[in-house]
Amino acid sequence: MSDQPSLHSRRGALKCMAYGGAGTLFMLAGGVFTPVDLAMAADNKPGAARLGKPLFVQISDTHIGFNKDANPDVNGTLTRTIDLMNGMAEQPALIIHTGDITHLSKPAEFDLAQQMLSRLRTTELHTVPGEHDTTDPTVTEYFNRFGKASDNKGYYSFDHAGVHFVALINVLQFKPGGLGTLGPEQLAWLAADLKGRSASAPLVVFAHMPLWTIYEPWGWGTGDSDQLMDQLRRFGSVTVLNGHIHQIVQKVEGNITFHTARSTAYPQPTAGEGAGPAPLKVPADQLPKMLGVTSVFVVKHPSSLALNDTTIA
């Protein structure tokens, strides 16, 4: 791959992703991924300037409180992640956390997570909860801390640099045996939120669980996401960001680019490997290569966004 952006077929782009490894930049232009060789990642190498301005960094699945074999030191790996982000030559305008901030929704876990995240040089933090953040019996710990942006509903929107951001919650209304759910109330809110918006406005939609079905037997999907896609399809540039599965999975459908981020805490098996999505134990020297963040750059403001995954290795 060249280090200059070049047009490839979508098939070529997907092929590239298969061996992309730790540092492949995907430039999103007109709904088609264009792979660009990337050795620079968050390093401050000369080529980084060509990436454009960093718009935001997505961090996910920090699972503060987790202490099992798969990573006995999730605080340490989050610290390394934060150092990596703080080391970016140009700081992103904002940070998005796509959920599972904590492991068990305990107050002490939330407090520690907030304390650690407060070290970020970029202070604007937007969050959505994961199901691990809403397991307390009263489902109040997350909302007491992060509920203000959404009036305790969990979904909200905001604008930054010409990009419209939509935060959605899909971890509250589980149907037994089913996938995550957005629910009619949230979908109606979104319809009103998007009404009248120009189709040329770039859209970034984020939620914890994947907003497309990756693997139904493990609940890796959202049951009513078809209704969401119906609303997003008319837009020229849509980036859908999720966490939950602790590994990168990508898909392009029309103008919609789907992307799941790595965790900063521990990896999970690929779909269907084993009894369920339990923490995956890997040799200690492999672990940092399986943890990381996603940076999103404005490539040609405001028409396209580029995604770049960086590990903490």
């Binding site: 492991h103 397991t135 589980f174």
Partner: protein
């Protein structure tokens, strides 16, 4: 070892064996085992349990991943149940109670109270 000492040791062993026997037969006779649901490999086992009204069901998590036990009707809701932790609920009224794990909603189970 003198004969007296070895006899004393044998007595200790004998008493311990009796005690263990008593303990195991007690646990065999007691109902708690019949009202326990083991969570293992992302499944409730058994996933359907029939009990008498007034019984307490205990869920114990044997996975490395936390799970939860949440009634479909909102009657009960555990917090996160981490590895080797338990959650218990006493069922007073006859009926059929469905529950799920809110962290892994494909995990479902039923308690039938007679």
């Amino acid at each position: 070892m003198t004969l007296g000492r070895s006899r004393a040791l044998l007595t200790v062993i004998g008493v311990t064996a009796l005690w263990l026997f008593a303990a195991s037969s007690l646990s065999n006779a007691a109902p708690p085992d019949a009202t326990q649901i083991v969570i293992k490999d992302f499944m409730f086992g058994p996933n359907s349990l029939t009990i008498k009204a007034g019984s307490t069901v205990t869920w114990v998590n044997k996975d490395d991943e936390p799970h939860s036990v949440v009634s479909d009707t909102g009657l009960f809701r555990s917090g996160a149940v981490d590895t080797n932790e338990t959650f218990s609920y006493k069922f007073d009224k006859p009926g059929t109670y469905h529950f799920t794990c809110a962290i892994h909603p494909r995990m479902v189970g039923t308690i039938i109270v007679q």
